[in-house]
């Protein structure tokens, strides 16, 4: 199982790459409206990027239920177990 720290580290790298923001630091309570450029199309790219990076699949239902980055991290950790 992946460690939460490891997931945050890789997520940060992915989000910085997709959103082209080298200063971005994700936290458990980060939500889309806190981050410049995280619009609906960016969200699609982020979700697809997560699937590729972690080798997991997120169903539309799972995506819909995400409230913040912390939820996303839990889904990744569970999905990769």
């Amino acid at each position: 199982m992946l460690s939460t720290d490891n997931v945050y580290e890789r997520l940060n790298k992915l989000f910085r790459d997709v959103l082209d923001d080298d200063g971005l630091v994700l936290r458990q309570d980060t939500v889309a409206k806190d981050v410049e450029g995280w619009d609906s199309m960016a969200n699609v790219q982020l979700m697809l990027g997560v699937e590729r990076e972690f080798g997991v699949h997120l169903s539309a239902g799972q995506m819909q239920a995400l409230r913040n980055v912390g939820d996303l991290v839990s889904v990744i950790v569970k999905g990769s177990a």
Partner: protein, 641 residues
């Protein structure tokens, strides 16, 4: 690796570590077009494709010229979400020499845009419009509905011609993996696959006599696998018309088509020989030793490369050879080897020599009056590929996988020779360039090869003969023909005896560089030559590392060790074997003086040793100093005993 050929565009090198910085710096360049193309000529994922597309957008907005790239305005219409595709199209077009500007419309409005004469698409004076429609856009449900769908696409094309004057690029349809009846889906006219087949066939037939172009998405999706291509989750999530993984290859295919429309496709394939057209090194293994036989597991991979080259020649691609080889030795394979498919009459130019390949390819280009941007260079050796990429950046140089069985597929997948038509002129072109394997004289060297080698971070490893290296040492001693001063062959027992002989000095030499470990590349044996000298009994080297000053570093090592042991001179000797012409002047080049006997050369070790041009390591020496002689190690178990 091989499974990801199309997903990762594996014929392109990986993006450099400073990719982002180079994209950011591109606007400061006098001529950013070349740098953009160089940056695009890497395997890029979505974020890097978007970065490049953004850079193109910024440069265009500032009015910068992107010469020598060819400007092209493309309207992009489709029934799915194109937001991920458009940046990839712009970035991938750079790779094919096109500065692309895309005209896009809001999601879902493609039909209105086509039908309204005053729409953005129709007003924009596009050079071409890409109709990115898939089966979901067309009324392909009822029995025999294919003609209705065809008429619809015909109507779109007619409107675009009339209102915008643009050429249309229309897509074939990729069938969905979901079958209705099963195998009979191909036959039953109400089945989705039958409808798609009928549509695709008729669509292509209707393009005859029109300027419009087909983009065979069906072929691309089938090559990848329909179940991978179509991703229901991504369609549902964001109306992505196919899995996002394949956006880079889709965009590269569009780039190829645009280049073909502007006559920018490649026209000449330059081939390396050893381990590219056949297995093995003909200069060392001999004509009988190379692997090219039909039915042979290794040979068949190389035959596939030859077959593809011949097929390309039949459709008008000019073939040439650039190989580090002795001309006569290399040509003999084409003349006499019964299993060769390629013959001299298939080749326009034949450059087998020991000069750098950049100079050779330049000479081929001048001889054929074909620009370097028409060239593709196929070589298994990453160092040679790197030289051409650096010195002749206009030449396309595909990466190759480790397994030669996939060479032909990789070359074909790169799509360098995309063409939208096949004319009589094409059929005759190869004959027009026929020069029957002519040899072209070389002019000045095109660039500083030494500077390139210096960038390879080479490290040379020196060690005396030992048990671990023994089998490879024996193999090299008994196999090397070309860079071999004396061609003395020794048995395994004789080599083992040398390990223990206190009067002899031996060297096994390895070389590593940024591409990895080249393995053992040189072997030297010195015997006492009283009074106070060493006779160089054996000096051989792999031709793969020729020109990288390995000889100078070996000489340096010999001088240093000789001094250490109170040896005053080195005595070299060249014995012509009929196959080692290339080292005839070896000792003269290294500063040895001619001795009193013919082909004997002498160097006083008091001369200054050559300066190091790479890092040097002597692992065994360090170990011996610490703990005395290395105890003989257990033989590694053979795989099959």
């Amino acid at each position: 690796m091989i499974g990801n050929l199309f997903e990762e565009l594996a014929w392109l090198p990986a993006a450099p570590a400073d990719f982002k910085e180079r994209v950011r710096a591109v606007h400061r360049l006098e001529a950013p077009g070349r740098e953009l193309r160089a940056l695009a000529t890497h395997a890029l994922g979505a974020p890097n494709l978007r970065r490049l597309a953004d850079a193109v957008g910024r440069l265009s907005a500032s009015g910068a010229t992107l010469a020598p790239l060819t400007p092209f305005k493309l309207g992009v219409l489709g029934n799915g979400t194109l937001d991920l595709i458009v940046p990839a199209l712009i970035a991938s077009a750079l790779r094919h020499g096109i500065a692309l500007q895309c005209v896009t419309v809001p999601y879902g409005l493609y039909a209105q845009q086509i039908l309204d004469p005053k729409s953005l698409i129709n007003r924009s004076k596009c050079d071409a419009v890409l109709l990115a429609l898939d089966a979901r856009a067309l009324p392909l449900q009822a029995e025999a509905s294919a003609p209705v769908a065809i008429d619809m696409v015909d109507g779109f094309r007619e409107n675009l011609h009339r209102h915008s004057g643009a050429t249309c690029i229309v897509q074939t349809l990729a069938a969905f993996p979901e079958a209705l009846f099963g195998s009979a889906d191909r036959r039953i006219t109400a089945a989705p696959r039958n409808l798609v087949d009928t549509f695709n066939r008729e669509l292509i037939a209707r393009l005859d006599g029109t300027p419009d172009i087909v983009f065979d998405v069906a072929a691309l999706a089938e090559t990848i696998g329909l179940a991978r291509w179509h991703c229901p989750a991504q369609w549902n999530l964001a109306k992505l018309p196919f899995a996002d993984t394949y956006v880079p290859i889709y965009a590269d295919h569009v780039g190829r088509l645009l280049a073909a429309m502007r006559s920018k496709s490649r026209r000449c394939l330059v081939l390396d020989l050893d381990n590219t057209l056949w297995g093995g090194v003909v200069g060392d293994d001999g004509m009988e030793g190379i692997e090219i036989a039909e039915g042979h597991a290794v040979g068949e991979g190389f035959r596939a490369v030859q077959r593809l080259a011949l097929d390309l020649r039949r459709r008008g691609i000019v073939l040439a050879v650039s190989s580090k080889n002795d001309d006569a030795v290399a040509r003999r394979v084409f003349r006499e080897h019964p299993e060769m498919l390629l013959r001299e009459n298939h080749l326009a130019v034949f450059q087998a020599n020991w000069n750098d390949k950049a100079t050779n390819i330049k000479a081929i280009s001048e001889e054929l009056s074909l620009g370097l941007d028409s060239f593709v260079f196929l070589d298994d050796n990453p160092v040679e590929r790197g030289i051409i990429r650096q010195m002749l950046p206009d030449v396309a140089v595909p990466e190759l996988p480790a397994d030669p069985a996939y060479y032909a597929r990789t070359l074909a997948a790169a799509g360098y020779f995309e063409s939208t038509t096949f004319s009589d002129e094409d059929r005759q072109r190869a004959a027009f360039y026929e020069r029957n394997a002519q040899r072209v004289a070389l002019k000045n060297s095109v660039g500083d090869v030494e500077a390139y080698y210096a960038s390879l971070d080479m490290e040379i490893h020196f060690a005396p003969f030992d048990q671990i290296g023994r089998s490879r040492i024996v193999q090299l001693i008994n196999k090397s023909n070309q860079f071999n001063l004396t061609t003395r062959r020794y048995s395994e027992a004789e080599v083992a005896a040398l390990e223990q002989d206190p009067d002899c000095f031996t060297l096994q030499v390895r070389l590593t560089d940024v591409f990895g470990d080249n393995g053992m590349i040189s072997v030297v044996i010195c015997r006492p030559d009283p009074p106070g000298g060493w006779a160089i009994d054996t000096w051989l080297m792999s031709c793969r590392v020729l020109g990288r000053s390995v000889e100078q570093m070996v000489l340096r090592e010999l001088i240093l060790r000789a001094r250490e042991r109170g040896i005053s001179r080195l005595v070299g000797c060249y014995i012509a074997s009929g196959r080692n012409d290339m080292v005839k002047d070896h000792y003269a080049k290294l500063g040895f003086a001619a001795g009193d006997r013919e082909d004997v050369w002498i160097l006083d070790v008091a001369v200054p040793e050559p300066a190091p041009t790479m890092r040097i390591s002597r692992p065994h020496q360090a170990k011996q100093k610490l703990s005395g002689p290395v105890p003989s190690q257990k033989q590694a178990p053979a795989l099959a005993s």
